[in-house]
Symmetry: C2
Subunit: 329 residues, 2 copies
């Protein structure tokens, strides 16, 4: 990291080429027609290093989740709208950004979760493949796809919209307890109505891969330096990760905390997306306490893009401090 004083820079500036060589401005020339508005955001990817590992966060858009039914089932809508307003968010929906992770260890290229495949909130999500391309990541070079849990915004991107394999050379690794729950026909039949569509979607995505996926137990090191751990509650086998390289570490909290303006600030609020809502709260609190206590760099799927930063205790809850964007890697 180069540190310069203002003095040294100004001296350089002041000794630059003499002013007499400057080209003239054509101030009285007719101005050109007004430039068209661009109407297009910058590519949605962000890079940072964890030790020797290069992390690329790839945005897949955002889900603007309706307040009906409430994403916070045990909380009055007015309380939810207040915390949204306090964070200067619209009060008509809760944004769930989608931040997928690519890790280049130097010897392996790993994708942690793979986005919506364009089959979820199609008007506001589905930018993953375009952003992968913008980031210069070739999906055919991915060695392993590691799935954290079986919600559609994490697994659908295994397939293109016309059902081609996006990562044709990758081993697909899934948590054993996720497989045991969502791929069980008896559980699908007896599931509450609200879960049935997700059972069907898991069948669609993983049915053709049944004999091919690698099932791992949470706790396993899924790739060099990438170790999984159980973070159950959001789903029965929801799995999080630590990434370590040299003395650097990253805590990937996945979906244990959704939008921090709502759920880090209020760790006690139930989350409608959690299959076991009370266990989801316990896991969330444990993860937030761990991140704050250890001052961990964290990466979160549904935090504001790129979803990297730190957690600090703030009153009865926690606050997210995003990393400062930098072009310096």
């Amino acid at each position: 990291m180069t540190v310069l004083t203002r003095r040294s820079m100004l001296t350089g500036a002041a000794t630059a080429t003499a002013a007499t060589t400057l080209a003239p401005f054509a101030l009285n020339a007719p101005t050109s027609a007004s430039a068209p508005v661009a109407g297009k955001q910058a590519p949605g990817f962000y890079r940072y290093k964890v030790g020797e590992y290069e992390i690329t966060i790839v945005n897949d858009g955002v889900w603007l989740r309706s307040l009906d039914p409430l994403p916070t089932p045990n909380i009055p809508i007015a309380d939810l709208q207040k915390v949204l307003a306090d964070s200067f968010l619209p009060t008509t929906a809760v944004p769930y950004p989608f931040n997928l992770t690519i890790i280049n260890t130097g010897s392996k290229l790993i994708a942690i979760d793979v986005g919506t495949g364009g089959r979820f909130s199609p008007t506001t999500a589905g930018t993953y493949l375009d952003n992968l391309t913008a980031a210069g990541v070739d999906p055919s070079k991915v060695d392993a796809v590691v799935i954290s849990h079986f919600h559609p915004d994490h697994i659908n991107g295994i397939w293109t919209k016309d059902d081609k394999a996006v990562f044709p050379n990758a081993e697909i690794m899934v948590p054993e307890p996720e497989w045991a729950f969502w791929m069980d026909d008896a559980k699908a039949t007896s599931a509450p109505e609200g879960l049935k569509p997700n059972f069907a979607n898991c069948k669609r995505v993983f049915g053709p891969l049944a004999s091919k996926v690698t099932r791992y137990q949470p706790g396993k090191e899924v790739a060099p330096g990438i170790t999984s751990f159980a973070a159950y509650g959001h789903t029965p086998g929801h799995t999080a990760y630590t990434v370590t390289s040299g003395s650097a570490a990253l805590l990937m909290i996945v979906d244990s905390v959704a939008n921090p303006a709502v759920f880090a600030r209020n760790p006690d609020w139930q989350h409608a997306s959690d299959v076991d809502r009370n266990m989801g709260i316990e896991t969330r609190k444990r993860m937030l306490d761990r991140a704050a206590t250890d001052k961990s760099l964290i990466q979160a799927m549904h935090f504001p893009f790129p979803g990297a930063g730190h957690i600090v205790k703030d009153g009865n809850g926690y606050r997210f401090v995003p990393v400062s964007w930098t072009h310096l890697l």
Copy 2:
């Protein structure tokens, strides 16, 4: 803003093409050689709308400002390092990101300040022109360059490194009190040593333009909907802006607050870059109070890129709440 429920999306997913048409994975194929690390950040620009106006924030890199001499002259270095650590920043330098603003009003293309021209902290700054290109902004289409004050990271980008005009068709608009101070030979001669390099740099940049620039009084509407106002202290004519379109508004605080982890949190701390340090503190407090009271969307030059967000009162100081990145414009 389209709001969808999880149910409607899952239903769509579950009825997609039957699994039997899925292409196979080649799981046992030899994995390809490991992909090379990219080593390159995403382009540094960010777009948002203010009413009908399209704002493009263009990053020019960052100045990693040494702690010797102290950026906070009346504060012990340990106190400065503590607030840096509290915000998970390195404690060896204060980062000053450079966020320049382009405004497309629909009829005019306006640049507010133009960056370092590659002549300031050359190893960590000078990315403005590359990012303008990435953002699809053609400098020859810019109708007006509006300068807030005469520090090198705001004015040097008027010229390329080989002294060509970057904005050949633009009117160059500068605050009259900045011109009166920095272009005065008597003031340059009698200036404290610490300011002399900046006097020389102003002469270099504006000398060839003396008969061509438009000098405006702070308070003037410099372009439709873009109104300047005095924010003196950082420099004698430091000028800030409001941008309004329809019922939407943006408060451009420019350099009245530098890195918020230091100077929003501690509005009373002197800033070594302020020509009048006490006036700088008064202006800073007034700006922070205005932003927090009005819940204004703000844009700041030296906040973490893209430097757009809101200000909230927090204890004895203020805290910055960055906008949530979105690809939806």
